[in-house]
Subunit: 324 residues, 4 copies
């Protein structure tokens, strides 16, 4: 059994991690850390866990084999400075602290996109879990980047659910505002762009074209829907590209290419990524969907843990989707 500690235990990604790990056959959760709720039963905060756990929030960890950092962006570095985590304990960071800046003291954070870095993750001691937007867009583009096929500007619109904005309530997550509403935020300038560019280059597309990225706020809770296109000057036909994608993801147990157009709820509450590819007017158009809290955060973190501890990649992650 893997002894697990979760730091930042009251937030959305920690809750989702608990939902997954409480059903994971190889995991013992030793501690759920919170600075604000020490002594409170975990199921009083994450109310859907009633009847599933007697865990209580603690102020610190004991002797975990791995610690998940669910702290909010920018807080992981401070946590590692303040807490002496033995080098024998692996770290999986769900924040963005080490995605673009992988060094911390003697630790080196591997970028945890399993579909790209599967083998390196198996031997990594520390993993920077990818962001949810980046994961969605990367799954759409990785095969092309790996074959150095991204030559022309890339156009991306991606719509995210409200859970991507975290637990703290605010104007744009107020139900009265968000319900039946749509808006754009940080067009062309979203902070995930750097992460996306780094991965695509790392995948083999060194001379990367400009990416035009328009993020949108959707009026749903879970999921990201990305619509991605770029001019296609390659030699492969539509069906050849689809075959190429299927081959590329053959060893990835959670990513599938759909022959039919896809809709977001086909992946909600699962660790899957679904892709659909069409050629039009000289463009290749790819739609890509994930659940931002699962494949875009806590599910992918567990997938990384499975790899790091030599387990089957899908252990504890064959989750029943909601579909509706």
């Amino acid at each position: 059994m893997i002894n697990v500690s979760i730091a930042g235990g009251t937030g959305y990604t920690a809750g989702e991690l608990l939902r997954i790990l409480l059903r994971h056959p190889q995991v013992n959760i030793e501690s759920v850390i919170s600075t604000t709720s020490v002594g409170m039963p975990v199921a009083e905060m994450h109310r859907d866990l009633l009847g599933e756990t007697d865990l209580v929030f603690t102020g610190t960890f004991s002797k975990p084999d791995v610690i998940f950092l669910c702290l909010g962006h920018g807080l992981s570095r401070a946590f590692l400075n303040d807490n002496n985590i033995p080098t024998s304990c692996k770290i999986i960071d769900l924040g963005n602290d080490f995605r673009n800046d992988p060094l911390f003291n003697e630790r080196n954070f591997m970028f945890g996109l399993c579909e790209q870095n599967r083998e390196q993750i198996r031997t990594a001691n520390n993993v920077a879990n990818p962001g949810c937007f980046a994961t969605t867009i990367m799954l759409a583009l990785l095969p092309l980047a790996s074959s150095n096929s991204l030559k022309d500007e890339i156009h991306v619109h991606a719509i995210t659910g409200s859970t991507g904005a975290g637990k703290k309530p605010g104007e744009t997550t107020h139900f009265s505002y968000r319900d039946n509403n749509i808006s754009v935020y940080k067009p062309f300038t979203h902070q995930h762009l750097e992460e996306i560019v780094n991965i695509l280059k790392g995948a083999g597309n060194n001379d990367l074209p400009q990416i035009n990225f328009v993020p949108m706020r959707g009026d749903f809770t879970r999921g990201i829907f990305a619509s991605v296109y770029t001019k296609w000057n390659g030699k492969m036909s539509e069906s050849a590209v689809i075959d190429f994608y299927e081959e590329y993801y053959q060893s990835s147990p959670f990513v599938f290419v759909s022959k039919q157009p896809i809709s977001l709820k086909e992946v909600v509450n699962t660790n899957k990524g679904l892709l659909h590819i069409e050629f039009h007017n000289g463009y290749i158009h790819i739609t890509s969907i994930i659940d931002n809290l699962v494949k875009g955060a806590s599910g992918q973190a567990v997938q990384n843990m499975n790899l790091m501890f030599g387990l089957d990649e899908t252990t504890g992650l064959k989750l029943k989707g909601t579909a509706f």
Copy 2:
């Protein structure tokens, strides 16, 4: 023209009042008061008003003929203490300060349920605008109360939209929580119960039975749907009661009895109240719907203003519903 001032100008009911009054043919809005946003254009706060007004929030009023208090429950009394409002200026309070306690200095607040107190409101200088739950439930029961027909316990479930909880974001108005969710709050103990009891007694049902009231939070933004029933020992048949209701509301231009079952969106964005009545198993069952921000707040406030200033009751209030 009626010179209007609005106190508490940044909240939901003030925004709704502005939406209505900016189209009212007999109104000039002289000031929109805010303690926090003086100098900000009103349309920067209430963004849907872009292109409709150049008003700017001010710190105080000038010489209004009427002032609407949109201050949040419990703050109207303080506002009246702090501001010397001339007795020539009428007051319409959208808070709950004077609903159950109508006296303030020499001012006497008339309870502003037009369908009950139409004639008294015409001559009132100060009106306490009814609460949204109370309005919905009162419209369902007023005809029975007026004929002293409420003899047995009354059972009420009423589901409210998120705008009823106001602008300040919180846990139960977070989109991630509220979307696709339902919950009960303050069952049997909601603060509007006192208001409801007072009105029903005032309407002629002195010996009022117990009211069992279960309020619920719905996952929609606007509207209240109330399901009300009580044992029926009266002599009238179902169709006779329906006729009686129609007669009771004949002079009320916004309340209608529907022969068909009703659904909430039939009244959204209007000042209407719709009722549907059925007899079953010895019970009379009444469903009642309003838009909480219009008939349940700002629309009813304007209806009161119209009466107080001798205008046709419907002036500026024949609003196009959304239906969808």
Copy 3:
């Protein structure tokens, strides 16, 4: 391994059954029957199953150990007449054909509410799976009925998600109608009332008072929220009743009593039932929530299968909830 056949394979409950059974460690799905889609891959109809199964709809079954009937209300009897199902094959009917009328030829259908009939189900060959409304309301009342404590009229409002109305689109499941809307249907006369009355009497409350049941259509997809109250003349205090409920459900692995008020999404995508109990004004008020497609249909059907085949009741049913 249990060989399973599913009749009526294209509908909502069949899809949900597939989502559960494809992850069930003791099940082999031998056939998914459809009269309209023979030859179509199952994952083309239930699109979220892409990558999870290669099953194809067939016209009939082979040699199943158990057949699930997901045929729509009233069609199970016809199916059994038309298909010669060997007596060695168990039947679990998700329709309402045998709930109130358990006899069919030599087969006798046990009512499959596990929390009430656990021991009889273990030895049953045929089970009539309870309805979703009935399950929600029964979980709220079973402990009281079992102690013959229901003496006074029972008041129930229950709000259901759209999936309860099935796959066939219609006026009241049109998104343009349903979104942000609420309505009542079949108040006091819903067809599930008979089922509820039968169970409560069977549980020991022979002299049952009238049940006033107002079903409502909610603007969410999954779940039923029931608010139930009745006068409390019993001797137990609120906390004693809560203890009694906890004791009653101690051997039921999916039913829990929450000390805190509950909201619907705490059970969505799980097989759990959550209850919350409060005393007010001489009434006992119970809120009860389930996911109508899981505990209210396909999950409970699998729970019944587990019991019928001697498996642990929770096998394959410890599902990760969505929470959001």
Copy 4:
């Protein structure tokens, strides 16, 4: 008073037209035509109109000054063939029959985008009302097209509400499917593209670049949100372009440029179009929002009627928005 007839009276756009025209001070609705519901009160079909009209569906028109065709795409031509409409009666077609093919017998349909063709509409006898997608996108691009500034490919993602798909229920408008879901349909090939291209060319951008248009289905009922960008090689700065847009729309009473980012609900239930413009990375990015049923259909149709009959363009169209 203008005598109005509405053909196709039971659909969504007819309902919306009724909501508007019943409040229009210069209109008398003489007939609401339906082939399927003759004799039924209009308020039984469009239930939110209860208390607002006693109109009954008829089989034909009498002597209207103008007839609105709300028949569904492709059915207007047949209606005009089957019904002898006197040339003295003006026609406003809400279908797409004459948008790209304006000739019908001796009648010539003017394209009814008021912001482009205001003067020609004033003297037109027949108007083809623009499509909802086209209206949204045109409002974003008209100023650039009018100055022949569209030189590089145009990228458009536009998300539509469910009412755009009409009243007939189907798979993608089923609440269980649509709620909390997002999907793409007809990417790069939507039938509105031709309409858009025609207008932009007609506005002065003869040598039009390719338009890449990805339509999406949103999980809301009303509105279209378009995100549009193209490379900017012009000389004007961001603020100069904003000034240019404001000047272009100065005489258009319903179109406004917002300095702040916009969200869809700022226009819901109004006839307004809101635009927001930003420059990024060499691109001009424009977001554009309308209510598809109002400015995208029935509101714009009334705006056209006002122009055709010499009324102020805004008569009956200063509608209160819902905001929430």
